[in-house]
């Protein structure tokens, strides 16, 4: 994977988040404080501005760099969580990594998110997408990329009937039911972006 490919990955991630910022904010207005899209956009705009510098580094360093930028720019709950996700991916992936390294790295990253958020799947958060995606990745096999994207979107949809136990939506109790979790949606969008990028690589 060369710098150009890595830059395309950054653009794919940032592009989908920025393009869906209003939608994410709208979801957060329904059951949160209405800033998820704004937060994520602010962070990924900085990532985008630094895209070439970031992409000049090997993949692990680039991911850690994205994580650091997200921690320092996003704020809110999603900043430390996505920051931790990318930072841990970067720290865990070996310098020369292949598809086989993806599952252990994501496993470590998802564990770090759980620790940071004192949370787990089933609480109507981004983990309700990240955890099933990790399971699918670990399962491996035929047509994995497409299955990952499908899993991510189905998992985000599946947060709609959930009652929130973590995040601001938890203040709503029963009233959190019936809305998609904004962080689940942004996770699904990013998974899809990575998958599309992966397929374009091949």
């Amino acid at each position: 994977m060369d710098a150009a490919a890595r830059a395309r990955l950054i653009r794919a991630l940032a592009g989908t988040v920025i393009a869906h910022a209003d939608e994410l904010t709208g979801l957060d207005q329904a059951i949160g404080d209405g800033d998820h899209g704004l937060n994520m956009k602010r962070g990924f705009e900085t990532v985008l501005a630094e895209a070439d510098t970031l992409a000049a580094q090997p993949l692990p360093a680039m991911l850690a760099g994205i994580g650091k930028t997200l921690v320092m720019r996003v704020g809110g709950a999603s900043g430390p969580l996505y920051g931790t996700l990318f930072l841990t991916l970067g720290k865990t992936l070996p310098e020369e990594s292949g598809m086989a390294d993806a599952a252990p790295a994501l496993e470590a990253a998802v564990a770090a998110v759980k620790a940071r958020g004192k949370s787990d799947a089933g609480q109507k958060t981004m983990l309700d997408v990240l955890v099933p995606v990790l399971e699918e990745l670990k399962a491996g096999g035929e047509g994995l990329p497409a299955r990952l994207a499908a899993t991510a979107h189905a998992a985000a949809e599946a947060t709609v009937p959930m009652r929130a136990v973590r995040g601001r939506a938890s203040f709503l109790g029963e009233r959190s039911v019936g809305h998609m979790d904004p962080g689940a949606r942004s996770s699904a969008l990013m998974v899809e972006a990575v998958v599309t990028w992966l397929e374009e690589q091949a």
Partner: protein, 329 residues
């Protein structure tokens, strides 16, 4: 959206520039806008640092100054600040005795302050405030929100820090004050986040949101607009009920406006709450009425009761010189 602004991207920076210029006798700004600090550091004193999303003015920057905070880190509107802000603030005001973070209990704030603490190479302790009784804790693991009671914790712990108490003592005091403080809010209108450009939630002409949070988060229930007395009754019962056995003796009563509520209505609510407290074993020993922990332009208010003892009364009365609270100095 009708606001006195130039552009949504510059609201925070311009408002902070105005704040620090207007109060240059009390505060100084970080050139990069990451924090607001006291104009002069008091060496040897534990550094009190708070912060959180903006839009709650005067909280927190308005409480920076002698007798209260050493620095405040303003995040974007309703978005917690990022760890670099707390790290930079700590580096600017910590002088050997360590740092106490006072953090409102929102996952975003907690996680960002936690990351800052992990990254800082100094002694750091944290007090979490979670005075909002509107949402029951039992079934949700996030716990309660920190709202207007945060100001009381900042004032009392700030006075104790000024006396030279150490980090562990201040943390314990902060937790004690927080543990005796309860709040509940009501909104008559939504707030409008500048970047969103439209109200966060929609309330009908005859509706109110009982138990609202300070970001316009929904509360207990949306109900028909009620009289001040009925609103006061529900809030007082919620607060007293939650204080349970603690609700006896001297208390500080804070009627806090959310930003769009005139003082006339806040004093009227104060009157309604006091009448409701009559004969309930609570003596209103100290009172504060005003808009201190706001939610942008939201109309509505919160009621906070903080139980006092001789030590905390004295700390409350101790001199304070900040932009938003000032006496004895």
């Amino acid at each position: 959206m009708k606001k006195l602004i130039n552009s949504v991207d510059t609201v925070l920076a311009e408002s902070l520039a105005g704040f620090t210029a207007a109060h240059a006798d009390i505060v100084a700004a970080d050139p990069e806008g990451r924090f607001v600090r006291r104009a002069a550091v008091t060496p040897g004193k534990v550094a009190l640092i708070s912060g959180g999303g903006s839009g709650h003015e005067p909280l927190h920057a308005g409480f920076v100054g002698r007798g209260m905070l050493d620095a405040a880190c303003p995040g974007q509107v309703f978005t917690s600040p990022t760890p670099d802000q707390m790290i930079a603030a700590a580096e600017a005001v910590e002088s050997g005795a360590g740092v106490l973070f006072i953090v409102k209990n929102y996952e975003g704030d907690v996680m960002n302050f936690d990351m800052a603490r992990e990254m800082l190479d100094r002694p750091v302790a944290t007090v979490l405030t979670n005075d909002d009784v509107a949402v029951e804790t039992s079934s949700y693991s996030t716990g309660r929100r920190g709202v207007a009671g945060t100001m009381i914790v900042e004032k009392i712990v700030g006075a104790a820090a000024e006396e030279g108490r150490d980090l562990a003592a201040l943390q314990a005091l902060g937790e004690r004050v927080n543990g005796r403080t309860r709040s509940m809010g009501v909104a008559l209108t939504s707030c409008t986040v500048p970047a969103a450009g439209k109200p966060t939630f929609a309330l009908g002409e005859g509706e109110m949101e009982m138990g609202v949070g300070i970001h316009g988060e929904p509360g207990r229930r949306r109900v028909p607009l009620a009289s001040a007395d009925a609103i006061a009754a529900e809030m007082v019962e919620a607060v007293l009920g939650d204080l349970a056995d603690q609700a006896s003796g001297d208390a500080l009563l804070l009627i806090n406006g959310f930003g769009g509520t005139p003082l006339m209505e806040l004093y009227l609510m104060y009157d309604a709450v006091r009448r409701r407290l009559n004969g309930r074993g609570v003596t209103v020993a100290r009172s504060v009425v005003g808009s201190y922990v706001t939610s942008l332009d939201m109309a509505g208010c919160s009621v906070t009761l903080s139980m006092l003892d001789p030590e905390t009364v004295a700390l409350w009365d101790a001199p304070v010189h900040t932009a938003a609270l000032r006496w004895g100095a």
